[in-house]
């Protein structure tokens, strides 16, 4: 299916990109980073307009994110459980809700583009946790525009090395996720050791 989506963006340009990123933001796992890089490469080849690509990719993602938030907030527990169960995330939603409360806006921002696989679940969790909508919208717009500019920009710059760039970004994303986990775990470890020392 990924091949067909990439071919659709390659053939039909920014409108296809808009449709695909909207669906992905709702929670369907699609290779959005690669699609944005490909869009950047096509801009470099003169086959797509830069501002249309950034605008439509950003708008599609924001639209999908807002739909996810609305489902979480107003859809009710049954709908949320059905959607999360569909993609095997039912067990992690309460944990995600707690993370959303703890991380707030920066957490929403970072899951728009740097840790984007978590984005759809943070949308749902923000809705169920009743995170204020205007704040969610602010961080969402900021994060999605950042993502569109960064990945389309990288694709434009490395326009003849799309697959290699995608592999580098994949490894970098995992490295950053592992680093964030190390920071959180290190903090917890330090707190535990200090507590043990006091006792």
């Amino acid at each position: 299916m990924n091949d067909q989506l990439l071919a659709a963006v390659s053939q039909y340009g920014a409108p296809a990109l808009f449709g695909i990123v909207t669906i992905a933001a709702i929670g369907v796992p699609l290779p959005i980073t690669l699609l944005l890089i490909v869009a950047g490469s096509m801009i470099s080849q003169g086959a797509m307009n830069l501002w249309w690509a950034i605008g439509l990719a950003g708008a599609g993602s924001i639209l999908g994110d807002q739909a996810g938030y609305a489902i979480g907030r107003w859809g009710g527990p049954a709908v949320v459980a059905k959607i999360t169960g569909l993609f095997g995330k039912r067990a992690t939603l309460p944990a995600m809700e707690a993370q959303t409360k703890a991380w707030g806006g920066p957490g929403i921002y970072i899951t728009r583009w740097l840790l984007s696989p978590l984005g759809p679940w943070v949308n749902l969790a923000s809705g169920t946790a009743r995170y204020p909508w205007h704040r969610f919208l602010f961080w969402d717009i900021l994060g999605e525009i950042t993502g569109a500019v960064v990945y389309i920009g990288l694709g434009r710059f490395f326009s003849d090395r799309v697959m290699a760039l995608y592999a580098v970004l994949g490894d970098l994303t995992w490295a950053i996720a592992a680093l964030l986990a190390a920071i959180v775990l290190g903090w917890q470890l330090l707190a535990r050791l200090r507590r043990a020392e006091v006792q």
């Binding site: 989506l5 490909v38 490469s41 086959a47 003849d160 090395r161 490295a175 290190g186 535990r192």
Partner: protein, 114 residues
């Protein structure tokens, strides 16, 4: 007390795994970055002929000619899979033919590779 230490140990182990993961993935990313200019971009079925031509610095008409396709006007952005379907040919065959055309363009007759 015992349970507390068990939990601390588990957090410690998870911390070590996370640190190891950070270094492993950062190293892999660094190694890929070093080779980014040297490796050839693979041809995929979703790519269009102009896209492949751009990635390999070969004129698109050379590749269209090599696979015996007259490009649709004004911009033929059909994927390799789409063209293979239109020509009733297997995708791997078309990819191999495109690769041969790229190799031939990189090595002019009687000359050294570019």
């Amino acid at each position: 007390m015992g349970k507390t230490w068990q939990r601390t140990l588990a957090v410690g182990l998870a911390f070590v795994v996370a640190i190891t993961g950070t270094f492993v993935f950062a190293y892999r990313a660094g190694r890929r970055v070093r080779h980014i200019g040297a490796e050839n971009e693979p041809i995929r079925a979703w790519m269009s002929v102009p896209f492949i031509a751009h990635a390999h610095h070969v004129p698109a008409n050379v590749l269209f000619q090599a696979i015996g396709v007259r490009p649709q006007e004004p911009h033929d952005r059909r994927s390799v899979r789409h063209i293979a379907h239109d020509l009733n040919r297997p995708v791997p065959d078309l990819i191999a033919q495109l690769q041969r055309a790229i190799d031939a363009a990189a090595q002019p007759p009687g000359g050294h590779p570019r």
